[in-house]
């Protein structure tokens, strides 16, 4: 009986001209899944495919949440393959669990809280069935993890943030061909400086020193564009996170671009740690992932990954306390 129902369904879907083309394949998939496999379908119920450790292991793959288009951490290279430090960490996690690595690309939203909701705990309202099993490059900050709203509720209670693996910081790169001596903030009273739109450097540079630098700030879509502008002589410096600065320094060997060690007075947060996140009830998956990444930090293989990408590895505070200061 079920077979006849299925065939009827199939035939109607292929033939009925008034039905939307976009609708049919989806309904068909659901119908087939329901009748043939008798599996409850996340697609049908429009619920996220939330997978605990056992389900991830049984599936043979793991979805690693990575920011898209974000060199040197995660991006698609010229050959069309995933590349970057977080991609390598994701591969190491998958290898460590004996699973296939599947990148889950994340378009950054207006805040980390939204990214976590849209990609880890709940799913975006347009794509509620698509979430990452674990997300990388999530700042590890107890103040953020335990942020409360006005009613006293924890705002980020639906995710667990764990496993710090890198220390990140703000920095400035400058063109020694344009500036005499090492760049300081004051250098950019007279020279232009580039920053990515809608980042802390964009806010900081337009406000610091009573707004004296404001008219010299040039905004770019990303740090790569800012470096290209520096190569053209459009700006004499770029303010960004250290990882991006080191990456793009290595990509402009023909220029005398250098890292400055500037004082950044009044900056709200000069350094922070980077870790990972899973859904709050997938802690077991988090422990398994944490164990792999922790080993990579301790045995130096994470350091190797950073070096292979022309970056200096900086250990999070957490390890500095456990392992003592790095040599």
């Amino acid at each position: 009986m079920w077979k006849r129902t299925l065939i009827l369904l199939l035939l109607m879907l292929f033939q009925a001209p008034a039905w939307g083309e976009g609708l049919a394949p989806q309904v068909l998939r659901v119908a087939v899944a329901e009748v043939v496999e008798s599996n409850p379908s996340a697609e049908l119920f429009r619920r996220p495919a939330l997978r605990n450790l056992d389900e991830v292991m049984a599936s043979g793959y793991i979805n690693i949440g990575l920011y898209e288009d974000f060199p040197p951490y995660s991006y698609i290279d010229d050959t069309g393959g995933p590349r970057g430090i977080d991609v390598e960490i994701g591969r190491a996690i998958a290898d460590g669990l004996g699973l296939e690595f599947r990148p889950f690309w994340i378009k950054p939203g207006s805040s980390l809280g939204r990214d976590l909701g849209n990609n880890v705990s709940r799913g975006h309202y347009l794509r509620p069935t698509q979430v990452a099993d674990v997300m990388l490059r999530v700042p590890y900050d107890k103040n953020f993890s335990y942020l409360r709203d006005s009613t006293g509720e924890y705002i980020n209670k639906s995710v667990v943030m764990f496993g710090p693996y890198q220390r990140e910081e703000w920095g400035i790169a400058y063109d020694a061909g344009q500036l005499d001596g090492e760049a300081t903030l004051g250098s950019f009273r007279h020279q232009r400086i580039g920053a990515e739109y809608d980042t802390l450097p964009a806010t900081y540079l337009t406000a610091v020193m009573g707004g004296q630098l404001r008219d010299n700030v040039r905004h770019y879509r990303n740090v790569g564009d800012a470096f290209a502008a520096m190569a053209r002589g459009e700006v004499a410096g770029v303010m960004a996170i250290r990882g991006e600065l080191e990456h793009y320094l290595a990509h402009h060997p023909a220029h005398d671009f250098r890292l400055a060690e500037p004082l950044l007075p009044g900056i709200s947060r000069q350094q922070w740690d980077i870790g990972m996140a899973v859904r709050h009830n997938h802690r077991q998956l988090g422990y398994a992932v944490e164990a792999i990444v922790d080993r990579a930090v301790r045995d130096g293989s994470l350091d190797d990954i950073f070096q292979a990408h022309a970056l200096e590895y900086r250990m999070p505070d957490f390890y500095a306390e456990v392992l003592g200061p790095a040599e």
Partner: protein, 593 residues
Amino acid sequence: MTQSTPLGNLARPLALTAIALAVSAQAQAVSFEDMLNDHLATDQVVTNGMGLHGQRFSPLTTLNTDNVHQLRPVWAFSFGGEKQRGQESQPLVKDGVMYVTGSYSRMWAVDAYTGEQIWQYEARLPDGIMPCCDVINRGAAIYGDKVYFGTLDARLVALDRETGRVQWIKRVADYEAGHAITAAPIIIDGKLITGVAGGEFGVVGTVFAFDAETGDELWTRPVVEGHMGYVFENGEAVENGITGGEAGLSWPGDMWQQGGGAPWLGGFYDADTHSLLIGTGNPAPWNSHLRPGDNLYTSSRLAIDPDDGTIKWHFQATPNDGWDYDGVNEVISFDYEENGSLVKAAATADRNGFFYVLDRENGEFIRGFPFADKITWADGLDENGRPIFNPAGRPGNPADSEGERGESVGAYPAFLGAKNWNPMAYSQDTGLFYIPSNEWMMDIWNEPVSYRKGAAFLGAGFTIRPTNDDYIGVLRAVDPRTGEEVWRHENRAPLWGGVMATAGNLVFTGTPEGYLKAFDATTGEELWGFNTGSGVVATPITWEMDGEQYVSVASGWGGAVPLWGGEVAEVIKDFNQGGMLWTFKLPSEYAQQ
């Protein structure tokens, strides 16, 4: 168990029905003349706004205060599938066929007598769309033998009216940069004109015009100072003047290059001055301390020459906008008499809480007054309509925060506005504007612990709160000559649907609680209501067929409020989604002469 038998029996009747219905509709080409007369015609609705000026006033008197209690549903049409969410569309009606758009960039042609589907079109949306404020669509345009609408991946689609077949699809902007089209496009003398919604920081709001027949681009007009507009001649872009004359007059540094100002709600047309009247969105970035200056032409109203995109005049409601008070709300042309002379005016009710009456020939400020009960960001308007800022009402600069959560600033109204996208109506009989408004405020504070794309960030935290315990929504009848609020009707949930007025002394609007309601236009007395089963956040229409007056409205709770409404969630959290088109009529036996 053969495969061919069930196929033949089931599929063929379905196919035949669809074809038969399509053929039976005797569609007449819709001309620009038809649109110019839409506000006078009673047997059609061929424009968003029930008239190109957007007054949403029907001259029909068949249905009136005496008989509206006999108004009853005659059919309902389901948008179907699993796709529900917000339905904000205004239907169109021509030659007994209704054209309505729905959530997820879908469109239907429906028999206006019976509610039977004639065709359905569903845009194939890519995975990466990121609309800010739900997957809504606000309606279609109709011209010649085609219907048009915009999609969530920022395309314009032209469909054959009779068959729903695609005639052309034009990419207007890059959806991957966060662009979408949700507003109904407008057609002015064969030109299909649209704005674009959203866009990440780094985007400049632009108005686009296309040839409605071919889809060829005709002109573009950026709305931010310093950017070149173009007209296209034989496929070649020809420079047509820099918006605002030159760059950097009202923006610091290079910030005009990003600007913002998305004209996401589209515009209306004033035939007297041959102008597209369109509003522009808020400037970018959100933090107003980074961009001292007026930041022209964001949060403004523009009169644009529909022939080539030249800006004729501008009026800026919120200079240096720091509250996300988009200036996109509709500008409605209307005439009134004062001291024996006729004033050619245009009115707009801004998100910032002020109602403005402008001279639509030159954009000059005639008068303005608050229509919201409480406004804290400005103490009033000066003689030119410019706000008198209250410095204590401006959110602080996150860059000034000292690692602690900054002091919270309470701003009235909230960023969702004293009135949002949902259009008001103007009654030529009462001379009143009927404004669907909301009483809510926002708390804004600097958020020292925030991150974005793996990096520390300086953000502002914000949340919306109702101003009063017992209501948020207020339907207001306001006299544009005096600013007097003639009557008000309070509603517990925020009003998010459009308003329609009729010569039957009626005003219609919907509520998130699910009702379509009718009020006495003179007194505000609630005369009729019908629960559609899901929130009404769309705009009703009315027309006449075979001597009977019909009313239609889409039903389906959603839009920006559930996504951005903060503590308003307490009021709305139990509302169910939907996706239905409801049509009512007054049966002829109840119509009184």
